[in-house]
């Protein structure tokens, strides 16, 4: 072994790639590492690559969405249209009414994989390994989240495309589709935060997968996702974040004010739904996002145990 203080450069012959001292930092000049955006890109690429390595989950989300669309439209189609007529949606095809629900379902299902990814990293030690790199923690979280949001957008577009191909109509056109995606991503961020919190609490992939179902269907059924809610359930629906996601997407699909649980009139038309719903979703995103970031950083600072 080399004597203490031996100049590392004298040994460069051993490993030719180290020549030129391109990366070995010298004391006194703090190394800079990547830019923040560079770090985001690095993590974005890692999670994309992992997703590509295991594409089954990705396609299953799409299949599940389409499956729900077909299943609910077939089974409940005729009955539901009667119900729709009763609350003033007589001219709306059930498939069109159903589309926001299925988009929400795909969003929630996909968002929960964020927690699965975190649990995987905690278990494999990659979480700590990333912590000791000079990468900015914000960039690490942002890169992972961006990769997950990208996947959600792709799944949503696939479900949306199939829905339209089956006969659903979107009244607000391309701008409306962009709006629908934005609303879904707000819901996605909320459930990604929830999934990360649950991931840290349980540290168990199986538990997290079970929690996905536990959250998804009760929340969907206790919102006006599949059928207009009876007035008994409106009290529950008002506390259900999915209600606002579904109603905002539905407002964009139908091009009109659809919000039933609270009365807003000052913005006009579909904005009477969109503005309050988006505001509520944003507030929830901030709340749960902050909570999950806090919990993740607490894990990172007590990595010793």
């Amino acid at each position: 072994m080399s004597a203490p203080g031996a100049d590392a450069d004298a040994l460069d012959g051993v490993s030719p790639t180290d020549g030129g001292d391109t990366n070995r930092n010298r004391p006194g000049e703090p190394p800079t590492g990547n830019s923040l955006l560079g770090d985001v890109r690095v993590n974005f690429a890692r999670w994309n690559r992992k997703a590509l390595r295991n594409p089954t989950a990705f396609f299953l989300e799409i299949v599940a969405g389409v499956f729900s669309l077909v299943l609910f439209a077939t089974v409940f189609g005729d009955v539901s249209e009667v119900a729709l007529g009763r609350v003033g949606y007589g001219n709306v095809a059930y498939l069109t009414y159903l589309l926001p629900a299925v988009l929400m379902q795909a969003t929630i299902g996909s968002a929960f994989t964020s927690g699965v990814g975190l649990v995987g990293d905690l278990e494999s030690g990659m979480f700590e390994k990333v912590l000791v790199t000079p990468m900015s923690w914000t960039a690490v979280v942002a890169g992972k989240s961006l990769s997950e949001l990208t996947r959600i957008v792709m799944q949503l577009l696939a479900v949306l495309g199939l829905g339209v191909a089956m006969g659903a109509t979107i009244e607000t056109g391309i701008a409306g589709i962009v709006g629908i995606l934005v609303v879904c991503l707000l819901v996605g961020l909320l459930f990604m935060s929830v999934a990360n919190i649950l991931g840290i609490l349980t540290r168990d992939e199986e538990a997290l997968n079970a929690a996905t179902m536990l959250f998804m269907f009760p929340l969907l059924f206790l919102s006006p996702a599949f059928i207009p809610l009876s007035s008994d359930l409106e009290l529950v629906a008002i506390l259900n974040p999915i209600t606002y996601g579904v109603e905002a997407v539905r407002a964009l699909v139908l091009g009109e004010d659809t919000l039933s649980v609270i009365e807003v009139t000052q913005f006009g038309g579909l904005y009477d739904t969109l503005v309050p719903a988006v505001a509520i979703l944003l507030a929830l995103d901030l709340l749960f996002g902050a909570l999950s970031v806090r919990m993740v950083s607490r894990v990172s600072s007590t990595a010793a145990e």
Binding site: M1, S2, A3, P4, G5, A6, D7, A8, D9, A10, L11, V14, S15, P16, T17, D18, T22, N23, R24, N25, P27, G28, P30, P31, T32, G33, N34, G38, D39, V42, A45, R46, R49, K50, R53, N54, S124, G125, M126, E128, K129, V130, L131, V132, T133, P134, M135, S301, A303, A304
Partner: protein, 346 residues
């Protein structure tokens, strides 16, 4: 292994910190909120290029110390400079100049060996032009070139460990922390990893490793610190630590365990041992440390024979680091270890 300039002498001291040390820690402590003192009053000064070993039993505070030095934990007291940067003030600079391999293997199983290395290159900002060559170089170093494009989840434990070690080196760090690098490896894999650690150190990288394997510390380290209950209880070169034991070790084994206590009495009654040696019973065998082990052995054998005790084996050997633990334990029993810590803890 070339011994460092501070190798000799029992009161082995590292040179005073001059800002050029790879690690300069002063009175480092970590106390958990529940009051557990994981690390207390640890001071270290590790010159660049050294291979330094942190030796201690499970739960002694080895991992906690490594995490304090590599920015994963904030000390509750004391200061640390790593590669000249303050760990609390300039953590990013510290992270950019050190490599870290955790005790538990940490690789992304879904990615191939090459992709794991590529991600590490990206994470540490290795210049783009250097990446491909450096990845190939490291794959060669850890003998994974043949399986470079296989997902890491299909690797054996030893292969994962080697990949883990390689990813800690992508940025050619000045200092690499290896937390029990060979724990859980079979002997063959362990020997190979030893080779890589030596190669890394030969390339000029300072190595800081923790280990419970005494043979490992002896094999790999220029200098050692022995840690127990969060405190450094001993330090020096492996050679100096062995000298500390105070002679050679005479081990005598018996048929059955019943004879050993009687044999210990007889040994203690032997003049040469009684005057300048220590007698312990270790796992059914008699373990005698004395400077005149070779001269004592025949006398002891004769004495045992006369008392009708059958000896099945006798061995005179140089002291191992395990014997260092015994020596420290002996001193503690004798109350010597209660001497103020600051004195020999630097």
């Amino acid at each position: 292994m070339t011994d460092g300039p501070t190798d000799d002498g029992i009161g082995d001291r590292a040179p005073a910190s001059d800002g050029q040390d790879a690690v300069a820690a002063e009175t480092l402590a970590l106390t958990y909120p529940d009051g557990t003192e994981a690390v207390r009053d640890v001071s270290l000064s590790i010159p660049r290029g050294e291979s330094f070993g942190f030796l201690g039993p499970n739960g002694a505070g080895k991992t906690t110390t490594i995490k304090l030095l590599s920015t994963l934990l904030e000390p509750t007291a004391g200061t640390v400079r790593v590669n000249g940067f303050d760990v609390s003030e300039q953590p990013t600079a510290v992270r950019a100049t050190v490599g870290y391999m955790a005790q538990e293997v940490a690789v992304d199983g879904e990615l191939t060996a090459r992709e794991n290395l590529r991600f590490a290159c990206d994470a540490y900002g290795v210049p783009v032009g250097d990446r491909a060559e450096r990845i190939d170089d490291l794959l060669d170093l850890v003998d994974l070139a043949d399986v470079a494009d296989t997902p890491a989840e299909r690797f054996s434990g030893g292969m994962k460990k080697r990949l883990d070690a390689a990813t800690a080196l992508v940025h050619d760090p000045q200092l690499v922390f290896l937390d029990e690098p060979t724990t859980g490896l079979d002997p063959k894999a362990r020997n190979r990893l030893w080779e890589y650690v030596q190669r890394i150190n030969d390339r000029g990288t300072t190595v800081f490793l923790t280990t419970q394997y005494l043979a490992e510390a002896d094999e790999l380290c220029d200098r050692l610190a022995v840690i127990r209950d969060g405190r450094i209880v001993e330090r020096g070169s492996p050679r100096a630590l062995k000298r500390r034991v105070g002679g050679e070790v005479l081990e005598v084994t018996f048929e059955g365990d019943s004879s050993v206590h009687r044999a210990a009495e007889i040994a203690r009654g032997t003049d040469a041992i009684a005057s300048a040696g220590s007698v312990e019973i270790d796992d059914g065998a008699l373990r005698i440390v004395t400077e005149r082990a070779r001269a004592t052995a025949p006398d002891l054998l004769v004495a045992l024979r006369e008392q009708g005790i059958d000896v099945t084996g006798i061995d005179v050997r140089a002291p191992s680091l395990e014997d260092v633990f015994f020596a420290i334990a002996d001193e503690e029993t004798a109350g010597l270890a209660n001497a103020p810590d600051g004195e020999d803890d630097r």
